[in-house]
């Protein structure tokens, strides 16, 4: 275990797409069973290497396996002690916000608060019709669904009427969030100003995947998010909560990294047959080289985006075998992240907030007081508890209604 967990200002970790891709060298495609076992190994190795976060995406079609992220993440949380589990991303468009509220509150309890989640709209068109939604309504779905989710985690009893979901009357999402503090939420977007606005409005985090596009593209969204975060009174633009993705492949010396990664790059579904690896690494944050090159590239990110809170790397993709993925995690844990922690701590203004944690959110809500622990009222015999579901809140109908 590395001793680089002292500074909480920034969290470093992994984000997985959950793709099951043929290894172009062996021409073998892992089975779903193999890849699912591997991803647990990868997440546990991330903790052992001193990383802070493991995030996984959500997909509903092959060649991806992660249809049920909370199951995977709860299992990982149970097998780790310190690692924070998250998503990259959770589909706010096609999932029922009630199920997101319930599933992730469960994950929050079981992981002891070591979780957060990232909202996204998805990038696979047919997922919308598969779940009975219209892709042309993607943005309105994201806006309405998140508004409901936000309320479900903050109000014991919710009445709701919207455009997309059946109405709710007197609905209580169970369990209530751990310590009655909603999980921290990031909003991920690569092109939509309304989503940056949404993150700013709620005072939530904003995440730029920072993988496929040149940095100028993300700069525009992040600076908009920062300005609007201040506009809504959550703090100064510098106090907004920003996360970035990234992508690297390392070897001790850079030519080895280039030689080892090229066959995977050339065959990768997302960039194969496109620009050369040299052009792609120049245009995007993908860095293929020595650990020092990765340090230099990522230490400079804050010059473009401002001081930020979370840096995630994509390392388990494009058919890279487990052994190589674990080696990459070792490079991150031993060579890259300790230096980045040190470098990014330097000259960081005191008013830039630390990365969000459950403990910090509890402290912000309760100070030194004990957090609320909701206890439900008795079952009346019809499997509901009446107008007030919890013992510490007054019924809207007065105490008689709770008899």
């Amino acid at each position: 275990m590395n001793d680089n967990t002292t500074w909480q200002g920034m969290q470093f970790g992994l984000m997985s797409v959950s793709d099951i891709t043929r290894n172009p060298l062996t021409r073998e495609t892992p089975s779903e069973a193999q890849r699912i076992r591997d991803v647990v190994t990868i997440a546990k190795h991330a903790e052992d290497a001193g990383l802070d976060v493991f995030a996984i995406g959500e997909h509903h079609n092959p060649p991806f396996f992660s249809s049920s992220p909370t199951t995977t993440l709860a299992y990982i949380a149970a097998q780790t002690e310190r690692l924070l589990v998250s998503t990259s991303t959770t589909l706010i468009t096609t999932n029922d916000p009630v199920r997101i509220a319930e599933d992730y509150a469960m994950l929050q309890h079981l992981s002891g608060g070591r979780m957060d989640l990232m909202m996204g709209r998805g990038n696979t068109g047919p997922v919308y019709p598969w779940f009975g939604k219209d892709i042309r309504q993607g943005l309105p779905l994201a806006i309405e669904n998140y508004q409901l989710l936000h309320r479900l985690w903050r109000e014991d009893v919710v009445d709701f009427e919207g455009k997309f979901r059946t109405a709710l009357n007197g609905f209580t999402s169970t369990p209530r969030p751990l310590d009655d503090v909603a999980p921290f939420v990031w909003h991920g977007s690569i092109r939509t100003p309304e989503i940056a606005e949404q993150a700013a409005y709620y005072g939530d985090g904003f995440f730029a995947n920072n993988i496929f596009w040149p940095k100028e593209h993300y700069q525009r969204l992040i600076s908009l998010y920062r300005q609007r975060y201040a506009h809504y009174g959550h703090g100064t633009p510098e106090q907004a909560i920003v996360g970035l993705g990234g992508q690297a492949f390392m070897a001790k010396n850079s030519q080895d990294a280039i030689d080892q990664f090229r066959p995977f790059f050339n065959a990768a579904p997302v960039y194969g047959n496109g620009p050369s690896m040299e052009d792609f690494t120049e245009m995007t944050p993908l860095t293929v080289g020595s650990p020092q090159q990765v340090i230099d590239r990522y230490a400079a990110m804050r010059d473009y985006y401002g001081d930020y809170q979370r840096q995630l790397f994509l390392v388990d993709h494009a058919g890279l075998p487990l052994k190589m993925v674990l080696e990459q995690i070792d490079f991150l844990g031993q060579d890259v992240v300790p230096v980045l922690r040190r470098e990014l701590q330097k000259n960081r203004p005191a008013n830039v907030p630390d990365a969000p944690t459950h403990a910090a959110l509890v402290k912000a809500k309760y100070g030194d007081k004990a957090p609320r622990q909701p206890r439900p009222n008795a079952n009346r015999g019809d499997n509901v508890t009446g107008g007030s579901p919890y013992q510490d809140t007054e019924s809207a109908f007065g105490s008689a209604a709770n008899r």
Binding site: L139, F212, W213, Y271, G274, F280
Partner: protein
């Protein structure tokens, strides 16, 4: 304020008759704007120069630098002059691929002068059955006269009743009128809150009236 005109030529050879037509069109538009006392500037882009970038954009989802700069100029321009060779009865594949990687709202409301070239005048309607619907789909505003130049227009067999220059001047005049009137469309920044909040000032406006775009 100076009017910015983006000129995009999809000609493949160098020199190409498509580029020659593009140059003649921008020159005529400049003269027409000068007559109307309107300041102007233009940049001419050859799709050949960014052909690999366009393919890479199709494959990776983002525009390499040169293409991104060109598309940015096009998106911010007050007018577009788009000229393509006609291949197999329609705009060239490269021209369409460029359109496919352009942001879908990049030229919304932009006046467009359509130009095309081909070996014979028998393809002249391609401007109206192929190019015009494409630009209408993008909510651009193609002006009514499109200019088609066949190989013969450059030589002795040219149309003497309605010669190429006369058609060019007519189109240039129409575009210049659009650019000198009081109702010149103002380009809005899609990342300006007043643009994406649909005139509102707060995200709450989107909560009460969900946006119409997906």
């Amino acid at each position: 304020m100076s009017r910015r005109i983006a000129v995009v030529s999809a000609g493949l050879s160098d020199p190409s008759s498509t580029r020659m037509l593009a140059d003649k069109l921008v020159q005529a538009v400049f003269e027409a704007l000068d007559d109307r006392g309107v300041e102007r500037e233009a940049r001419v882009f050859e799709l050949r120069d960014v052909a690999h970038d366009i393919t890479n954009n199709l494959l990776t989802g983002f525009a390499p630098k040169a293409l991104a700069e060109m598309n940015d100029y096009v998106a911010k321009a007050d007018a577009l002059i788009a000229v393509t060779p006609i291949f197999s009865t329609s705009y060239s594949g490269l021209f369409k691929s460029w359109i496919d990687v352009l942001d879908r709202d990049a030229i919304e409301g932009t006046p467009v002068l359509l130009g095309a070239t081909a070996g014979t005048a028998r393809h002249s309607l391609a401007i109206d059955y192929a190019m015009r619907p494409l630009f209408t789909h993008l909510h651009a505003e193609p002006i009514s006269t499109g200019v088609f130049a066949a190989s013969s227009d450059w030589g002795a067999e040219a149309d003497s009743v309605a010669p190429l220059q006369k058609r060019i001047d007519r189109a240039a005049g129409e575009l210049a009128d659009r650019l000198s009137g009081s109702s010149v469309p103002q380009k809005t920044d899609p990342f300006a809150p007043e643009a994406y909040l649909a005139g509102g000032s707060s995200f709450e406006d989107l909560l009460t009236k969900l946006p119409s775009r997906g």
